[in-house]
């Protein structure tokens, strides 16, 4: 389990990095490497060139202001998780990150790396969709931004071109009255989710006015739950959960089966997870429920 040979470069500027990335069809960005290096050890991934962005200027910023939390491409998950400012602006970040691997992984793994890797069972892409995050992407044609919602196309497949780099992501500050939660069922501590839910609930007087609900680990990508978002309107702690459960179950019609669970399990468990989360959040009446 050793990586195949590759060329390595460590550019100092984003222009150089973009140029290096464009130089080969199988070049890859190396940030924390916590997904990439293991897959290279298995030789599942055999890039010809690794573009290590650790020295690229301007990618190590973690900025928190009234608009939200901006996270540069080389900022580690631990750094975000440990930031009290980031937590108060976007509580969902810490709530998602505590499910991401373990300390040792988060110490090197980056938020943007996880967003780019697009594991269908990963927490951060789903959170980014639920929270309305926007990605900043740099490519040969210059810079563009992209909403996380719509960015995820399939397993390990995003709207990112081969020659593009995610240089940062901005999570908008959680609005008053909104509660963002992440919960999941995983087989073991730190594992990718078998069934996961990232949800931003807009609460009005103890009931749900609206929500952005995103499943992860259920189908081939993080997925908005359209029917459940309709069904959850007006949900409150004392409400019957059947309708909401059924809506999520329908939303997850394309749930996949694998060695950990069947598609049917994922549909059922997603419905149950959603009802339980919506109950807890409504019961807390806009408080910090769901922060586990």
């Amino acid at each position: 389990m050793k990586p195949a040979a590759f060329d390595y470069c460590r550019p100092a500027s984003i222009d150089e990095a973009a140029a290096a990335l464009a130089s080969s069809d199988s070049a890859k960005v190396l940030a924390g490497g916590q997904s990439l290096v293991p897959s290279m050890n298995f030789r599942i991934s055999q890039p010809s060139l690794l573009v290590d962005i650790r020295d690229v200027e301007g990618l190590d910023g973690l900025e928190v202001d009234q608009d939200g939390v901006s996270i540069g491409a080389s900022v580690t998950q631990s750094r975000v998780m440990n930031s009290d400012e980031a937590y108060s602006a976007v509580p969902g970040l810490r709530r998602a990150l505590r499910f991401v691997g373990h300390l040792q992984i988060r110490n090197r793994g980056t938020v943007c790396g996880s967003l780019a890797h697009a594991d269908p069972a990963a927490e951060l892409p789903a959170l980014a969709m639920a929270a309305g995050a926007r990605l900043t992407v740099r490519g040969p044609q210059g810079e563009r931004t992209a909403a996380a919602d719509g960015f995820y196309l399939g397993p390990y497949w995003t709207g990112l071109e081969q020659s593009e780099i995610i240089t940062g992501v901005c999570f908008p500050a959680e609005a008053p009255g909104t509660v963002t939660v992440v919960d999941e069922i995983a087989r073991r501590s730190g594992d990718f989710a078998v069934v996961g839910l990232a949800a931003a609930f807009d609460l009005e007087d103890g009931s749900v006015g609206g929500a952005r609900l995103v499943s992860f680990g259920v189908s081939g990508r993080p997925q908005r739950l359209a029917a459940a978002e309709e069904a959850v309107r007006g949900f409150h702690a004392g409400a019957a959960g059947d309708g909401l459960y059924g809506a999520a179950y329908e939303d997850a019609a394309d749930a996949v089966g694998d060695i950990h669970a069947s598609g049917e399990y994922r549909r059922e468990a997603l419905g149950s997870l959603l009802v339980r989360t919506a109950r807890a959040v409504s019961a807390s009446n806009g408080g910090k429920a769901g922060a586990r």
Binding site: A5, D7, Y8, C9, P38, N41, V51, G101, H102, R108
Partner: protein, 167 residues
């Protein structure tokens, strides 16, 4: 072999356990192999080579990391600490001593990884047994069932032991 954009071999300078090491290494060399084969510090073990088991945990610039899932070139310029750096003059640290007294190790293969994870954190952040358990969940042990490891850590950090029966 070198392309226009990169190189297969890289000059690397790291400090390991206070000693500066300069080497020209293949870009693909894993940090775990660099530490073990190039530097000769075999106390860091390799258990899975895919970032799961934690046996290879070392401290890089203060943070516990998986050396099997890190390329050596990624720590160019860093300060690395391994298990060999814990005891001074053979005198066990309190955590090492607690592992010994509590029988928190059997085959010893995972032990270095646990010790480095524990060394890297601030005990003040782990006041509840559940927090200790969660922290320890990043390192696998096949022999002990973890019970005595939790006990050893709680004894050193002054954490009330893990509660049975989730009371």
């Amino acid at each position: 072999m070198t392309s226009d954009q990169g190189s297969r071999e890289i000059d690397l300078t790291v400090t390991i356990n206070g000693m500066e090491v300069r080497r020209r290494v293949p870009a693909r060399l894993l940090l775990s192999d660099f530490i073990r084969d190039e530097v000769g510090l075999t106390g860091t073990h390799v258990g899975c080579e895919h970032g799961y088991c934690g046996a290879c945990t070392v401290i890089a610039d203060g943070d516990a990391i998986r050396s099997c899932s890190t390329l050596a070139v990624q720590v160019d310029g860093s300060d690395i600490r391994t298990v060999e750096d814990l005891a001074s003059d053979g005198e066990l640290t309190p955590m090492q001593q607690a592992f010994h007294e509590n029988h928190a190790m059997q085959c010893g293969f995972c032990t270095a990884g646990f010790l480095m994870t524990l060394e890297s954190v601030d005990p003040d952040d782990y006041r509840e047994p559940e927090q200790v358990v969660e922290l320890l969940s990043g390192n696998l042990c096949r022999c002990t069932g973890y019970q005595n490891i939790v006990k050893a850590v709680c004894s050193v950090w002054g954490v009330e032991g893990r509660r049975r029966d989730s009371q």
